[in-house]
Amino acid sequence: MDNSEACGSWRQLQDHECVALFLNGEQAAFAELVRRHQNRVFRFLLRMMGCREEALELTQDTMLKAFRSLPGWRPDATFSTWLFRIASNAATDRLRRKKVVKYVPIEEHMDFPDPAAGPEDELQSAQRYRILEAALQRLQADYRQVLLLRELEGMSYAEIGDVLGLREGTVKSRIARARQALLEVCKGKI
């Protein structure tokens, strides 16, 4: 079997199957897990840290910690939830050690488009996304964390609770407050 065929066969396996193979000594199975999840973890860490180099470093650290801790993974949590827990803790630890409050200026007042509207001007869209990215960086870390997991990763409140070690009620109220804070920043009301 050549390399391309080997990669194709790995892709057909589910995460828990790759984990089982890895625990039986198949390192290529872990490599497949890394390839599957590295971009998601990277995007999350990039928006948590606001810096590409740091996000890349933490992504590698996350995968390395996953490699060492995989024997302790229990199937009651999905692999991706478990992986995001490691990534989230890594980001929180790094931000806590840095203790830097990032001030990112918001370029202009941002109006939210009506999602039912027609095609938008590309330039306006690019500006809008830059504003949103900047607004996210202005939020406190725990608000940013829940918003990214909910809005970008599409996790349910229960899954977010698993990742962050919070009760669902806490996740619900934190997301609501995070959204209010983001609206305040984006609408220039601060």
């Binding site: 990277f42 390395l64 809005e151 619900k172």
Partner: protein, 146 residues
């Protein structure tokens, strides 16, 4: 007075489809008559749309080889056996006893047999210091019979 309705937390959960059936129906009834919630719902939906359309950045290369290499380096670096200090205690005692016995035997075998223990004397009051030449008192020399 807050610009947000006091039920804004429910609004957020409603947007995420995280309310159970009964709560959802009750909230929809409230939404029908609350301008603040309607406005906020529109804003939150717009915000969601922006999130969905954010650029999907990527790492740009395969992290797997580097991660596996780093994991291999750490595994070989930790191959030294971990020492238990309590296990070393009897070994330490044995070593100390052996060394002490060796010193004792060495001292007793190499020192002279008739050596008398040297006691401190009143030599410090002698007119001639230790190792010094006799200054020739007559009583020091035996009288020769001619």
């Amino acid at each position: 007075m807050s610009k947000y309705c006091r039920r804004s937390e429910e609004l957020s959960a409603y947007l995420d489809d995280e309310l159970d059936g009964k709560s959802r129906l009750k909230f929809e009834m409230h939404l029908g008559g609350c301008f603040a919630c309607k406005e906020m719902l529109q804003d939150l939906r717009g915000l969601q749309g922006c999130f969905q359309a954010l650029p999907q950045q990527e790492v740009g290369f395969d992290l797997a080889p580097g991660v596996l290499a780093a994991a291999g380096r750490r595994a070989s670096a930790t191959k030294w056996p971990r020492l238990n200090l309590w296990q070393l205690l009897p070994v330490s005692f044995t070593a100390a006893a052996t060394i002490s016995l060796g010193v004792f035997l060495g001292t007793s075998l190499t020192s002279p047999h008739n050596a008398e223990p040297v006691a401190p004397t009143l030599a410090m009051f002698d007119p001639i210091p230790p190792g010094g030449l006799c200054i020739g008192f007559a009583e020091c020399f035996p009288k020769e019979k001619i």
